[in-house]
Each structure stands twice: as C-alpha cells, then as structure tokens.
C-alpha cells in the first residue's frame, strides 16, 4: 500500500477549543480502497479529527493533502466539492422535503431562479437508491424515515457528489443488527470501487468485521495506526485507555452502613434491561460504561423523570413507587443531572435563586419568598462549597462550568438528601475544581450519604468508588469491587460484545 498515493495525507493536525487542546499533532494517511476505523474513548479526539476532514471544524495547526495536493477544507460545502462527505450519527436532513430533494439540494451549480428539474431529480434519486440496493420511495417526505434509511439517503448523497472519502460517525449505534449488515455490505462495495471510508465506532466486533486498518486516539493524541489483524482486542483496549492513572486519593474512608437505595430488575424496554444494584449508606457506587449505555436513563428512572416499566426501587428498606421527581425529593433522593445547561440550571436567574430552587418550603413557607432566608441559605452554601462568584445576585450563566456545577450540588445538598445521584459531575470543569469535587464527594459519603456516581472517566471511578457497576447497551455487565477494579476490567465490560455481525 505504501507505493500508492494516499487519498488524504494529514500532517500535524491539531485543534484547540477555548485554549484546551482536544487534538495534538496527528499524522495520518488514508488510502483509496480502504475502510479505516478510528477508535478511542469519548473525547479522545477521533470525532474532532473526522470533523476537521469534513470541514466542520478548522484545524488550529497542521496541513491536509488530497491526492498529493494541499487543500484547505474551510466548510462542509468545500468538503463536498472536494469529495468528502461526513455522515452524522443522526443524519442532518430537511424532514419536510422529499427524499429526492434531500439528495440533490445545495448543488453548487444552482442558479436562483433556475427550474427545479423534478423528473430528472426523481430519476437520479431512484438510480442512486437502486445502486445502493435499498428500496425507499424517493418521492416521499424525509420525515418518518427510519434512521437507517436516512443514513442510506446520506450515503446516496455522498455518491451523487461522487465522494472519494465517506466518513461515518458511529453509524451503527441506532441500527438493528440486520440494518448494520446492510450498511456493511454497502460500505464494502464502496471500498471495492476504490473509495475510502472512515468508520468511527465503539464496537470492536464491528471494527474487526468491517475495517482494514485502525487508528487509535487517546486524550487528543494519535496512539497507533495498524492493520486490524495485527492487534488483539486486548491490545486495542490497552491502547485506548493506556493513560497514566492519576492518583486521586479517596481521603475519607467512610463507615458503610445498611442499604439506602436498592434497585431490583429495573427495566425500560429498548433503553435498559434488568438493572439491579444496592447503594449503602456511606458508600460510593460508580456506574461506568460508554455514552449511550443507558446509565443516565437508569438514574432518570429512579428519580421519576422517565420511570421504568418494571422493577422495584427501595429507599431505606421501604418499597417505593416514584412517578415524579417531587416524590423522589420527598424521599430524600437528589439527582445532579449530566447536562447542566439543559437539565440543571436556570441560566438567567441569580445564583441564590438557583441554589434555593429545590427547597421552596424553606424559603417560602407561606407562599411568599422570604428574601433573607434565601440569602442566608445561599451564602452558607457558597461558603461551604467555596463557589467563586462576584455576587449572589449574579445570573448563574456567568459563572464558570465548575462553579455552576457546585451551585447545583449546593442546591441538592439543601434538601439534605440521603441518596445522591451524580451524573458526570466533573464533565467540562477544570482539573483544580475537579479535585475539590472529589474531596467533596468523599466527605458527603463520610457523612453517611449513599452516592451513585455516573462517570465516563475511568480514573475518576477507580479513585472514588467502593464498587463499580458497568453497563453496556442497556444491560448491566459487571459489578466490580474496589479491590478488583482496573481500567481493563471496566473497559471490557463497557465495550459491547458480539452482536451477530457478519464477518
């Protein structure tokens, strides 16, 4: 392969967002007629690299060559003209327009008032669909097509613009095994026509079944590129997680008491299945797994946001039915959600209003808010958690991510919860604040609270948790005690195993 000119030659590609390096100095050659896998943990940089190729992001450093000629991919439109198409996991489409229109819309040669050639357009769309061997009525609306069919339309669009490089970003996550097989068949055919395909996936089995070569990313660095046959699964996992384990000491070893939260056979069809675990007083139980494994859904089910279809929940030894978050709060549960911008904060409200939001009865026993009580509670929280702010009246949206997160934690601590569910509490906050958080979580456990910690960061789980549960694709795949917990063990349980993919 070394003699052929690479289709894409990337040299020294780096990218920083808001002064944080998310990708550093990546060199990679992609050859015509290969399917190339990009592997790595969440946030390892593989998607960023793919988006740079597709013109979604501009690289901060480095150069790209296409067929030996230097190019600048300044926008997705430029990428399309260069023959590079990125197929998003959730395809971007115009749901109200027909399939055929979605295929041809936005061609470069269009003039404003030129006629829409409906007949030719439909004909071309049919031809492309036949070429892919999929049966989709091209005159129907895009809305209502399955994700798999929408992906096919995107692939057809790549063919329509004669793309040489087709990037599929986790295309198989929303697909059924049969749809995956169809997709793989098409991917192989496109490869045999001499096109290059980048395949991003978490599923080693799929990568093994489909790909020729694999590149592994970790923490924004390219770690290795090799032919897939040269690597064992163990090699790949080791390369993916091989970062030095940072030592965060779990300072306060707390006394572990009786069960505070017991979950038995929790099931929500299609989301998670038969999840059972117990969190005891003073215990920190980790919930690991890849994004999309159903961890957050379990937390939301327990908290009554989207209750499970079957299964039982016990709080402090009593069987409870939680159909609504207010019931969960009354029972002494607290849930700090993952996406604070969406589910956690009231952006435009002041810090103190945000902090006091969970305890309306304390600040407004008669229905009228007692400003002095509100202020007192907020001041106390700010001091205890050392939240850095200019004023309690400041809109919370102006604080840094870490301080916003602390304010939300403060809110929930005001309810004096006996069970605290933390969903990715340290995502997107600086390392210094992270360490403070780790101390805080340890102290909360030491004071006898039961803590369920959802995290995608393995070192975090290893350092903090007494026990680590792992979920994969909605199923509970491991329950690892602290003594046996290693990154490899967690990763093995987290990465989905064989799904009946044709090799």
């Amino acid at each position: 392969m070394a003699e052929t000119v690479p289709l894409v030659r990337a040299r020294g590609i780096g990218k920083e967002f808001a002064a944080v390096d998310v990708l550093r100095d990546v060199d990679l050659d992609l050859f015509p007629g290969e399917i190339h896998a990009l592997l790595g943990e969440n946030g390892a940089g593989k998607s960023t690299f793919a988006k740079i190729l597709a013109g979604v992001h501009r690289p901060s450093t480095g150069t790209l060559e296409l067929n030996g000629k230097p190019v600048e991919v300044t926008s997705p439109i430029v990428a399309q003209k260069l023959g590079i198409t990125l197929i998003h996991q959730e395809p971007i489409s115009f749901p109200d327009l027909s399939v055929a229109e979605n295929l041809v819309l936005g061609r470069a040669d269009e003039r404003w008032f030129s006629r829409v050639p409906w007949a030719e357009m439909t004909g071309e769309a049919r031809r492309l669909m036949d070429l892919l061997g999929v049966k989709i009525d091209v005159t129907r609306q895009m809305r209502g097509l399955s994700i798999a069919d929408q992906q096919m339309v995107e692939i057809a669009r790549a063919l329509a613009s004669d793309s040489r490089l087709i990037i599929m970003d986790e295309p198989t996550a929303p697909l059924t095994p049969k749809e995956v097989e169809t997709l793989f068949g098409i991917a192989r055919r496109l490869r045999d026509e001499g096109r290059t395909i980048i395949f991003i996936s978490h599923r080693l089995e799929e990568v093994r079944a489909l790909c020729d070569r694999v590149t592994i990313f970790r923490d924004g660095n390219k770690i290795a590129t090799d032919t897939i046959g040269n690597l064992t699964d163990a090699d790949i996992i080791r390369l993916m997680i091989g970062r030095p384990l940072k030592e965060y000491m779990h300072k306060t070893r707390s006394q572990i008491g009786e069960a505070a939260l017991r979950v038995e056979g929790l099931t929500l069809p299609g989301v998670f299945n038969d999840v059972s675990f117990t969190v005891r007083k003073g215990e920190i139980v980790g919930l690991g797994g890849l994004v999309g494994a159903g961890r957050t859904d379990v937390a939301r089910a327990i908290f009554g946001v989207a209750p499970a279809a079957s299964g039982t929940v016990e709080v402090d030894g009593k069987r409870v039915t939680i159909a609504d978050p207010s019931q969960a709060i009354a029972l002494g549960l607290a849930f700090v959600p993952e996406d604070r911008a969406v589910a956690g904060i009231f952006r435009t409200l002041s810090v103190e209003q945000n902090i006091s939001a969970a305890v309306p009865d304390q600040i407004a026993p008669s229905g009228f808010i007692r400003r002095s009580v509100e202020k007192l509670l907020a001041e106390d929280a700010v001091r205890k958690l050392s939240i850095r702010l200019a004023s309690l009246r400041q809109p919370i949206g102006e604080l840094s991510g870490g301080n916003q997160q602390k304010a939300i934690l403060a809110r929930w601590l005001l309810t004096n919860p006996s069970v605290l569910i933390l969903d990715e509490p340290t995502r997107g906050i600086d390392i210094g604040v992270k360490a403070e958080f780790y101390d805080m979580i340890g102290e909360l456990a030491a004071s006898g609270r039961a803590i369920l910690l959802i995290s995608s960061e393995l070192p975090e789980l290893l350092a903090l948790c007494d026990r680590i549960l792992v979920m994969s694709e909605g199923r509970q795949t491991a329950d690892i005690p602290r003594s046996a917990a290693t990154q490899e063990a967690i990763m093995h349980a987290a990465v989905p195993q064989v799904r009946g993919v044709a090799a």
Binding site: L105, R115, V116
Partner: protein, 333 residues
C-alpha cells in the same frame, strides 16, 4: 382508488371539506348562501387577503413571520393615493392611472426589504422586528399624509374599475389578479431552486447553510416578496374601496392574512405549506366573513365569532393531524 386515497390524505382535503360543510350548514338556514351571486360576494372579500397571504406563507414557511404587512399595505396605498392627488402640483401633469400599481409594489418591496435586513443583519427575531415596523410604517403613513384621507375623487376611475369591471363571466379583474399571483407563487415555490430552498431553510435552519444555501439572501428575498405583495394589496385596496385612510387602511389586515395562512395548513414551525392550502384557507375565511351578516349576526358580535371560527378550524385541523400521526405509529409498531 389509490389516487383518491392520496388526494383525501392530503391536508388540503380537510380544509376543502370544512369549506363545503360550513357552506352547507349556512345554506341549510339561508338557502341564498348557495347561489352564484353569493359566490361572487365571497370572492370579492378575498383578493387582498389572498395576495398578501402568498407572501406571508413564504415568510412562515421560512420559519419567520411578518406582522407589518397591514402597515405596509396602508403606507404603499397612501404613497400612491398622494401621487394621484398631488401629481399636478408636483409634476404639472396627470400621471397615468396605472402608475400606482408599480409604485405601490416597489414601496412595499422596500419596506419588506427593511424588515429582512433588520432580521438578518442584527439576528433579531422576525416577530419583534415586524411588530416594531408595524407601528413604524403606520406612523409614517400618518406623517406623510398629514393624517388626511385620500378621498374617492382622487382615485382614478380606471383603477376603481379593476374591482368593478370584468373581462369575463362577471368576475372582476381584481379576482383574476389574485389568482394570478397565487399561480405565480405556486410556480415560484415548487419549480424554482430558490423556492425549494425556502422550504429547506424552514425545515432545518441549521442544516441549510451546511448544504450551501445562502440563507441571508433567500430570507431577504422572502421578506421583500412579502412586502411587495402587501404593496400590491395596498393599491388594490384603493381600487376596491375607493379611498385610502391613514388609520383604517390595512389595520388588522395581518391578523386575517396570518389566520388564513395557518388555517391553510402552513406550519408556524416552518417547512410546511402549500399554495393550494393557503388559497383554501383564504376562501374559508371569505365564506365565514360572508355568512356572518347573512345569518343576521349583529356587527358587534362579528369580530368575536370570526375569531372563534378561526380557532375552531385550527383545533379541528390539529386534531385530525395528530390522530393521523398516531395512526402512523400504530402501523410502524
């Protein structure tokens, strides 16, 4: 059979059925409602709304809204009315009677373009911008006219004739103009590239620029068209009613037009809407407006009933649509 099914499944079919049922219901009480003469009355109530509704529909399909069209109508009608009144003072000669038509269209287009520029250049929401210009353009109408009405004698009789004389079948010119505009809108939206791009922008605004659609230019075009059509409606207002009044002309017009468009099945969320549906929505409003006096409903209650009918039509339409979606889910499951 399949062809019939697909016609019945179209959203427009529901509106057509509503029109028929409404007319039959009114006709059961007042048989004279179902006469050709009455049809003429209904049609004469609708051309201004229909013309402006074509522009408004494009705006709403692009996921915006234009609240200022009533004021654009009033201002552009006033500009033409003043030209007719003062042309001898200003230029020393009588301008031809048709001058007001291109003039009002051009004035409307400029005002529409201003809306579009404010929205696109400053990233302001259309509902706020056009609420502002609704007031601004109305105020300008008072200023230029010195708050004085253009009376009947200043409107050229040929212009008034457009609403009275007929080329064929006793149907006045103004109605042919309205349907002509609808036909042009149909061709524009369905058979030109930019027409389809309007749907694409409304359907998924974030994806549109990624597909190489010039969102800013297309949006400006859409608001300009909406303004131009409101301007055309303005000069036809002068033709139809024979006067231009700074406070009445076009006041509340946006309400009727938006109601017609939404009843016609144009989604306020953008991306969805057809010319046929909009035409039917306009006709349904015309039927209601014509039926109220005939049913002996006093003028004091008419506005309330008119509003209620619009809401009922929307509720029926939304319910039908939701059940359609539920039915679809059942099939897939």
């Amino acid at each position: 059979m399949n062809a019939l099914r697909s016609i019945l499944l179209r959203r427009e079919a529901g509106i057509a059925v509503m029109i028929v049922l409404f007319c039959l219901a009114v006709g059961a009480f007042k048989p004279q409602f179902l006469t050709l003469d009455q049809l003429r009355i209904i049609l004469l109530l609708t051309p201004l709304i229909m013309i402006a509704a074509m522009g408004q529909m494009m705006v709403i399909v692009a996921r915006h809204v234009d609240l200022s069209i009533g004021s654009i109508l009033g201002f552009s009608a006033m500009v033409s009315g003043m030209l007719y009144r003062f042309d001898i003072d200003w230029f020393g000669f009588d301008v031809p009677w048709w001058t007001g038509i291109p003039l009002s269209i051009a004035v409307g287009a400029v005002l529409g373009l201003i809306n579009g520029l404010l929205i696109q250049l400053f990233r302001l929401p259309a509902i706020i911008v056009t609420l502002g210009t609704l007031s601004l353009y109305r105020g300008m109408t008072f200023i230029i006219s010195n708050a004085k009405q253009i009376d009947r004698q200043w409107i050229p009789s040929e212009l008034k004739g457009l609403s009275q004389t007929s080329p064929i079948l006793g149907i006045p010119w103004i109605i042919f103009i309205a349907f002509g505009v609808a036909l042009l809108a149909y061709v524009f939206l369905n058979h030109t590239r930019v027409g389809r791009q309007i749907y694409a922008i409304g359907s998924n605004p974030t994806a549109a620029p990624l597909r190489g659609i010039k969102v800013t230019q297309v949006t400006l075009l859409v608001f300009t068209i909406s303004g131009a059509l409101a301007g055309l409606a303005g000069i036809l207002y002068a033709s139809r009613w024979g006067f231009v009044n700074p406070s009445n002309t076009g006041s509340g017009f946006e309400f009727q037009v938006i109601a017609a468009v939404v009843i016609g099945g144009v989604s306020i969320n953008g991306g969805v809407g057809t010319v046929l549906g909009t035409v039917l929505g306009v006709l349904l409003l015309g039927c209601v407006a014509a039926a109220l006096p005939l049913l002996g409903i006093p003028g004091t209650s008419q506005a309330a009933i008119y509003g209620a009918v619009i809401l009922i039509a929307l509720v029926i339409d939304r319910t039908v649509r939701r059940q359609g979606i539920v039915g679809l889910r059942r099939v897939r499951a």
